[in-house]
Symmetry: C2
Subunit: 397 residues, 2 copies
């Protein structure tokens, strides 16, 4: 009878079976669930615990029975391949990759504050860094019959989720075949996050992890993979998750004029102190903390921090592990998938009553962040990677 | 006797046998020869003729006899490989790659104008786009014995030129092995530029072309290749061609703190109209032209142009061929080595007496150019990719 009641509720509310979430999360949307942690929690650990990892759901969380679950692989000459979770775990070597994942809408609220955009009002915490474990997509594609013949016509790999809207349309998207098939691309079909089974909000039992690529392509609750000559025709590939010129408004936007977002640009943000914080003059020094990351496997090589609105800059300390930990060696070129945490402790500038603190990062292609938001403004509020600025007040004793 | 006189001159002036150059070039330094074309000539053709292609020599141009020329390939277990020009042309398939090449100091003069830097005073034309023909470096490395065993320890490929300073030190540098050995890296040992033998100023008889990577690694007059576990120890790899924070001055610079520049960031510049040009109000429309390019094979997807100092932006037309030509299809992801030319024709803004024209480009990783120069200022004046700005006056009738 309890089960019947549950099913009735579910019929009226497709979100009724969504999992519980940590109460500290800042909820941008309840249904579908979209939430991020407070920024000061985000940089407390190098690996983001799954409860604090931002949740970006487009649809209700599907309930998947791991025993009957099957992944369909289609479009290859050998016909359809159907793999159970057990098959994926036992027929292929397990790989782990530490990779950050960022929503294209991270930092949208700052863009929205300057000029209104359409989208969820994310702060700076729609990003996280996790250790993903699973099967290499490359290995599955090779097992399914990918070879030189297929390479002649195949250009994209489509991913379809088991999350569906009321009309039965599943979340879907695609990535270039070159990224999917490359040994150095490190694309995973992940069944583990931070050493445990994927949590329901992060794609249980299987999700795609495309290191260096926008969150939107890292499809959760993966049901189907299709090899194709064409990009995914889905809404999320063709009409959303694209960047436009600041001069483009809704009356003249042409989705075909812009490429689907894949690799993301250089990014950094301040997580401590919080905007509006009050600092005691007696403190003498100020510690600023944050994260930095770049897409496409480019490694962050420097973070500059200003305590005076950009007049002078100091170089922050970077780390790629928790404090006190022996840090990992630099990854091979083009495979720096994880974020870096950074920190600067500097004398509190004398006299100043208010400080504008700014951070900006540089990656190993020497790409930098733009100074201001307005010239990268776009109607969907995507790709805000302008310098991050917070203001704090200094209280005299 | 004539020969003796020449040799006497050469003994006193190692630059005496340098080739003749086109008189239109703007010379930044005579010895060694460093020069660029006027910017309005630069964008007249999609493929830059060699006479107008910027010349960046670190040392005198060596005179190499193609008949006795040998390329040495060292560091591989099979021992040294020695290849004649004929060997390179006949024992390996010929490949052609259209690739732009840019000096790390391009646009240094604008940086120097804001705050003094050390280096040659390049304008916006230390960049060119050519069709290079030659042997794939990958093919030569494989022929020399590169295999899985070598892959275990090899990390870098060193290039040494035949150009030497008075102490006998040759120009040298290195690139990561991953770039050198990758099929998609398209690194060439080029013996042709735009369908003809390499000209003396561009490396005759053989140079390296590393698409997507800073000019400094594209070693000319190539004499020696060494496979190594270490980066080149040369001055140009370890002490020059690195980027630093704007707060770093000569008293505190630590070359080890920054990686050697390899891939370059997103770049664009205005070539027409020239800074300071005067435009007639009766013209009604204004045409702005320029180039855009990004390193690492990232494709330029958009150029925004402002005629009002950055208040409003219009999207320029891009092309990847000469005007009226059928343009080539988009290259595979990550292999967009060539530049794009762009153009915008727009109504002349009414009333304005002076226009500040700005361009900024976006690549397919959605990296953008920073707004201003000062926050990317560095003591060597490298990597200036801030928005390019020119001012023109409007003359009323
Ligand atoms: Mo997203
Ligand atoms: Mo250069």
């Amino acid at each position: 009878e309890d089960q019947k009641k549950q099913e009735d509720t579910k019929a009226s509310d497709p979100y009724a079976s969504d999992p519980e979430r940590h109460p500290v999360l800042r909820v941008n949307c309840k249904k579908p669930f979209n939430a991020e942690p407070p920024s000061e929690i985000l940089t407390e650990s190098y690996i983001t615990p799954h409860v604090f990892f931002f949740k970006r759901n487009h649809l209700p969380v599907p309930q998947v029975d791991p025993a009957s679950y099957r992944l369909q692989v289609e479009g290859l000459p050998g016909g359809e391949l159907s793999l159970s979770l057990e098959d994926l775990k036992t027929q292929f070597p397990k790989h782990t990759v530490t990779a950050a994942m960022q929503c294209a809408g991270n930092r949208r609220s700052d863009m929205n504050n300057i000029k209104e955009v359409q989208g969820l009002n994310w702060g700076v915490s729609a990003i996280g860094n996790a250790k993903w474990g699973g099967t290499r997509l490359r290995d599955v594609l090779l097992a399914a019959g990918f070879g030189p013949e297929v390479a002649n016509w195949a250009r994209h790999v489509h991913f379809e989720g088991l999350d569906k809207d009321v009309t039965g349309t599943a979340y879907g998207t695609s990535i270039p075949i070159s990224k999917a098939i490359s040994e150095e691309g490190d694309v995973l079909l992940a069944y583990e996050m931070n050493g445990e089974d994927l949590p329901p909000d992060h794609g249980f039992p299987l999700r795609v992890v495309v290191p260096g690529v926008v969150g939107a392509r890292n499809v959760k609750w993966l049901g189907r993979i299709v090899i194709s000559a064409e990009e995914s025709a889905s809404h999320w590939q063709q009409h959303d998750y694209k960047g436009f010129s600041p001069g483009t408004d809704w009356s003249k936007v042409d989705p075909k004029s812009a490429p689907a977002i894949q690799e993301l640009p250089i990014q950094s943000a301040i997580t401590v102190p919080a905007d509006g914080a009050v600092i005691d003059r007696s403190e003498e020094t100020l510690t600023v903390k944050g994260y930095a990351w770049s897409g496409g496997g480019r490694e962050v090589v420097r973070v500059d921090v200003s305590l005076d609105g950009g007049n002078t800059w100091q170089v922050a300390q970077l780390r790629n592990g928790d404090e006190g930990e022996t840090t990992e060696p630099s990854p091979p070129p083009g495979r720096a998938w994880a974020w870096k945490l950074w920190e600067l402790t500097a004398p509190l500038p004398p006299q100043a009553e208010e400080l504008e603190i700014i951070c900006k990062a540089v990656d190993n292609s020497y790409n930098v962040q733009p100074d201001t938001i307005l010239p990268i403004w776009n109607l969907r509020g995507l790709l805000n990677n302008a310098w991050h600025r917070v203001k704090v007040r200094v209280r005299e004793d």
